[in-house]
């Protein structure tokens, strides 16, 4: 039957595990395997990027100049900070300081909102300029005369779009963890969900660490 009802006194490990540590290490390994599937999925997009950059290097170098490096840099800083605050949140939960953990999780959540706002500004700018993926590309700037230019923006929107989707999912997870922290479910003996959400968030930041130079800087 399911885990014993969770009491504030502490979490009882599921019946098929030998101990809380056993359950925790299983949960963590499960999370690492999940991150492997995420790497493979986003890896598919990076392979597509590498192929088309290899096929049309000049188009990529021309088109990537139309991305706003300043906004990209701000987003990178925001995500790195959110990664730090998430880590602080997790370590506070591990030490049992629930209030401090809640504070840091809240800051992480705000950073995520900031990231999406910057992303919205970038996207609306692209929509306005007609720099849209594939057949919807309507920009007539002479510097973008290469017939395959829409492909760059297809890749740009797919990669940053799927990343933004993962940021939104991350925000949902952080909110869920904040609710449970507020209810005092976590303690130095049981903080698995916090750490796993932390892993997920660090992974989202990890993907952006590669997206930023690939799309914005070297193109």
């Amino acid at each position: 039957m399911a885990n014993q009802p969770v009491t504030s006194a502490g979490h009882h490990h599921a019946h098929h595990f030998k101990s809380a540590d056993h359950e925790f290490s299983a949960a963590k390994q499960g999370m690492w395997v999940f991150l492997v599937t995420e790497v493979l999925m986003i890896g598919g997009l990076f392979v597509a990027y590498a192929i088309f950059r290899g096929l049309y290097p000049d188009m990529f170098s021309a088109a990537h100049k139309f991305l706003n490096v300043k906004l990209g840099l701000t987003n990178t800083i925001i995500l790195l900070t959110s990664s730090l605050t998430m880590l602080m949140g997790v370590s506070s939960a591990q030490r049992g300081d629930q209030k401090r953990s809640l504070k840091f999780l809240a800051v992480t959540f705000l950073c995520a909102i900031g990231f999406l706002v910057v992303k919205y500004i970038e996207y609306s700018h692209k929509f306005h300029d007609g720099l849209l993926p594939g057949a919807n590309f309507t920009n007539t700037d002479p510097l973008l005369m290469h017939p395959k230019t829409p492909l760059f923006f297809s890749l740009y929107f797919m990669m940053t779009g799927i990343h933004a989707f993962h940021v939104i999912v991350g925000m949902g997870l952080i909110a869920w963890i904040m609710k449970r922290t507020a209810k005092g479910e976590f303690s130095p003996g049981y903080y698995t969900p916090v750490e796993l959400v932390g892993f997920y968030w660090h992974f989202v930041d990890l993907v952006w660490i590669y997206l930023f130079p690939l799309l914005y800087l070297v193109g």
Partner: protein
């Protein structure tokens, strides 16, 4: 490995009383190893490192290190990634199992790219004809003429020869918009000899843009993006020379198409070969490109010559020698047809064979039936082709 297990216990003898099993069972990880709590000091130090690396990668990306830019950016990104994984996700203090699991993901992404690349980047046997790669041959010719947008006699002359091969089929020999293929077009191709009616405009930059992007909406005016930049400027000036009073460019006009007249930087676009161009190069019969010089057109004063020049010349070339590329509009992505020399075909065998070929057209080819000629017209043209007068 032959099990030398000597214990005679039945293989899975249930040991009495081992209800929940001893705590330290073999496959459980090393007790509290994974409970590592990342101290705040380490977190801040790592965060500082990440910020510095971010700044460095942005700065180094602005320096033009040529081929080194990409690997450097990837190297810095990988260091940042390792920092996040090792410290923020505490993989450094985790079991070796999880490290192997997470690393294997990148190995398989590398396998995926590593085995797609041999296909994507090594195709092209079709473009390599007898060892000479088509694409490379064209891209080599990407020379740019400085200040191409100012007309010079050489550009006009060069434009004329390009015009003959690329444009005369629709726009006609003298640019009146009466080429052979124009019959099937509505709206009719532009008549360059008149000042009125230019949809985009007659300024060099406007003609240049039309050549580059074609006229949206008109089914016939294709994109000549595949022509090298020098050819396009030559065409611009030849076309403008066909009628007097063509307006000149201002600096904003030039800027609009991305050219800065002051520092002579011609627009640098690596010429790519269009599918049509590649196809045309491959299926081109060893045709002789007829260098059309206007001079000997006027001399042919006989009726046959005039008739021939008005409706046969643009496809059959100089006195029926053929070798002109005619665009077959019926096929997508368009195929080019090269006309054969008339005396090689049996249409010239006799007058009535010639008449039949002209009136009814030739089945299986693009020769349209031209019923408008009278018997005398046909006799004159036939004589002109036979005797050259």
């Amino acid at each position: 490995m032959n099990q030398n297990e000597t214990s005679n216990k039945k293989p899975d003898q249930k040991t009495a009383g081992a209800t929940n099993g001893p705590a330290g069972s073999s496959n459980e990880t090393d007790g509290h190893g994974h409970h590592h709590i990342v101290p705040d000091g380490v977190a801040l130090k790592v965060f500082g490192g990440l910020i510095c690396l971010t700044v460095t990668t942005v700065v180094t990306s602005h320096l033009d290190l040529g081929v080194l830019n990409f690997p450097l950016a990837m190297f810095i990104a990988t260091i940042k990634a390792l920092l996040v994984v090792m410290f923020f996700m505490a993989l450094k203090y985790d079991t070796k199992e999880n490290t192997v699991i997470f690393a294997s993901a990148f190995v398989f992404v590398a396998i995926f790219f590593g085995l797609v690349a041999p296909d994507i980047f090594f195709r092209g046997d079709v473009y390599v004809k007898k060892g000479q790669a088509l694409i490379r041959e064209v891209s080599g010719a990407g020379s740019t003429i400085p200040k191409g947008w100012i007309s010079t006699p050489e550009l006009v002359a060069k434009g004329k020869t390009i015009y003959a091969t690329q444009c005369s089929t629709c726009h006609g020999v003298e640019g009146k918009g009466d080429g052979a293929a124009a019959a099937a077009l509505n709206p009719k191709p532009r008549n360059f000899t008149q000042d009125a009616g230019w949809k985009v405009g007659r300024k060099p930059s406007q003609v240049y843009a039309t050549l580059k992007t074609g006229i949206p909406g008109s089914a016939a005016m294709p994109v000549f993006g595949s022509l090298s930049q020098a050819d396009r400027w030559a065409l611009v000036h030849f076309v403008r020379s066909l009628a007097a009073g063509a307006p000149e460019d201002t600096n904003e006009d030039l800027a609009k198409i991305g050219i800065d007249p002051a520092n002579e930087v011609a627009e640098k676009v690596a010429p790519s070969i269009s599918v049509e161009m590649a196809m045309e190069r491959m299926t081109e019969a060893p045709a002789k490109l007829v260098a059309m010089s206007g001079s000997n057109l006027e001399e042919g004063t006989s009726a046959g010559a005039k008739l021939y020049r008005s409706s046969c010349f643009s496809c059959h070339g100089q006195q029926g020698s053929g070798g002109i590329r005619v665009k077959n509009l019926g096929v997508k992505p368009a195929s080019w047809v090269v006309t054969r020399a008339l005396n090689e075909t049996d249409a010239m065998a006799s007058q009535d064979k010639f008449n039949k070929a002209v009136i009814l057209g030739v089945p299986g080819s693009l020769m349209p039936g031209m019923a408008q000629f009278s018997a005398t017209d046909l006799r004159d043209i036939y004589q002109f082709l036979k005797t050259g007068k």
